[in-house]
């Protein structure tokens, strides 16, 4: 049991299938088509900086909406009996088990022209195109990732002792103050992991925008398209995405530590 040997196969595995591929992406990002060192890929990638910012923007809005929707729900679930909590969590997870493309496809059917929602709105005399815009993409993202926000929030909130809340109320706290001084500080770790679990996949996902967003692609779609013809530029975009996501994770971690100290 004290031997390190069982780890050897996996260490070799990580070297070949984790480290080497990443080194290759970085290598491609810093070379031109002839294999000489060059910053050309990054210059080419700069064309897509607008798409990049758009993706981060979509991810930010989707994450925010998920947080606002999930927070009160997670709290009220966490005040239920233990038995019904595990039931509810199971029901929240069922849609996640459905293939993600099929879930997006469901929204294509719902939002399409002459689809059910369009018909209802037309009936009331509202004539808008529901699909092919950022709004549709955000709806798709929120639908896709809402459970990823609810579940970590719920995990953290279910550990908040109800007597803490009652104590605050007994000591004369109003509803808002109970929230600000008790519930919110204790739920910060859940917010941080929820935000991370929603933001990272939304920012880097691909296909959701192709299904719902019309011609406005996101950075994941761009990586896929560019990679079909130009590995160097594609790698450069991938490196930038990786660095941004890593920076975000480090920031969230720091933030979490600081909150934990102050709280």
């Amino acid at each position: 049991m004290k031997t390190k040997r069982p780890a050897i196969p996996y260490i070799g595995w990580m070297l070949v299938f984790t480290i080497v591929p990443l080194v290759m992406v970085i290598y491609y990002a810093f070379t031109d088509a002839q294999g000489h060192f060059s910053l050309e890929p990054f210059q080419n990638a700069a064309v897509y900086s607008e798409v990049f910012l758009y993706s981060l923007w979509i991810a930010l809005i989707s994450t925010f909406i998920c947080l606002v929707l999930a927070y009160p729900l997670a709290f009220s679930i966490s005040r239920c009996s233990e038995r019904s909590q595990s039931m509810i969590v199971m029901f929240l997870m069922v849609p996640m088990w459905m293939n993600f493309l099929l879930r997006i496809y469901a929204w294509v059917l719902i939002l399409q022209n002459y689809g059910p929602l369009d018909m209802i709105l037309n009936f009331f005399g509202v004539d808008v195109t529901l699909i092919g815009n950022s709004g549709a993409v955000i709806v798709g993202m929120v639908y896709e990732f809402l459970p990823f926000m609810i579940l970590p929030l719920h995990t953290v909130m279910s550990k908040i002792d109800s007597s803490l809340i009652e104590a605050a109320q007994d000591l004369g706290c109003s509803g808002f103050y109970v929230f600000r001084k008790v519930v919110f500080p204790l739920s910060v770790p859940g917010i941080i992991s929820g935000v991370t679990m929603v933001f990272v996949p939304t920012a880097s996902t691909f296909l959701v925008a192709q299904y719902l967003g019309g011609t406005q692609f996101m950075i994941g779609d761009v990586i896929e398209r560019v990679f079909q013809s130009d590995h160097n530029t594609g790698s450069a975009i991938a490196v930038v995405l990786m660095v941004v996501i890593l920076g975000f994770l480090v920031f969230m971690n720091r933030f979490g530590d600081k909150e934990a100290v102050n709280g």
Binding site: T3, M24, V25, V94, L102, L109, H231
Partner: protein, 263 residues
């Protein structure tokens, strides 16, 4: 009053999560291709079962998922034990490298593996297909096994293993009779997560499958990309029912277990 409000809110969120899936399933029985209801039919289901491509990719998906999750479980359990016996810095470095496929955006993992496999393919004369997809799936499943097994190792009393040796077990016997027994819940949940992630993976498969190898998520993509295809609805219905049945069985099993434990 407050109770009622949170109940209504809960119902709204559940409706948001479930109505699209219900809509999707309902229209798998529609005798027309648009959102106009043209009468009940089962023709999309018969078409689905007659589609040898879809059935073939279902077979591929299952084979890949079974192989990848079994191999990842063995590799990951061994790695978790081995890595645990490293000290301080080396251990956390290994754990961090192991977590890279979880932290990195899927699309970056996908393209980096594609670079590796195309390069190796040119060098050694093979094309991407079944084997590269299998390797990629083992690669992203193993970290989840390690994450599930490591806490179990931490909780385990190492003197149990020594006691087994003192009582005359060979190290192999002691491992399978004592250590495995203690780690089994972690190993099992790691296996389950690996299996479901492998079944459902689209992005990484998309980049490592080459031009011919098909899995079900890839097939779903071909079926639904920029078109409406009621066969996809029928497939959704079948997948959804499978998920529900599996969840019910596993819930029932754990309920039975906890009842037995209570006795």
């Amino acid at each position: 009053m407050k109770k009622l409000r949170s109940k209504i809110y809960f119902i709204i969120i559940m409706a948001f999560l479930y109505l699209p899936i219900i809509y999707l399933i309902a229209y798998s029985f529609n005798d027309g291709k648009t959102s106009v209801w043209k009468g009940f039919t089962l023709k999309w289901y018969t078409a689905l079962f007659r589609d040898s491509q879809i059935m073939g990719s279902l077979y591929n998906t299952l084979i890949i998922a079974i192989l990848a999750s079994v191999i990842a479980t063995i590799l990951g359990t061994a790695a978790a034990i081995g890595i645990y016996n490293f000290k301080g810095g080396v251990r956390s470095a290994l754990q961090n490298v192991s977590n890279i496929p979880i932290i990195n955006p899927e699309i970056v993992t996908g393209v980096s593996l594609m670079l590796l496999f195309t390069f190796a393919g040119v060098m050694m004369g093979f094309e991407m297909g079944f084997w590269t997809v299998l390797l990629a799936h083992i690669g992203f499943c193993t970290p989840y096994v390690i994450l599930n097994v490591t806490p179990r190792i931490r909780q385990m009393d190492s003197s149990l293993y020594e006691a087994a040796l003192d009582l005359g077990c060979t190290p192999v016997q002691a491992f399978f009779k004592v250590v495995m027994h203690e780690l089994l819940p972690g190993i099992f949940s790691g296996f389950l997560i690996s299996f479901t992630y492998s079944l459902d993976d689209f992005v990484i498969t998309y980049f490592t499958r080459g031009s011919r190898f098909q899995t079900l998520p890839i097939q779903i993509y071909t079926m639904t990309h920029q078109r409406i295809n009621p066969k996809a609805n029928a497939l959704s219905a079948l997948l959804f029912i499978t998920v529900i049945v599996i969840l019910l069985i596993s819930n029932f099993a754990s309920l039975k277990k906890s009842k037995e434990a209570a006795r």
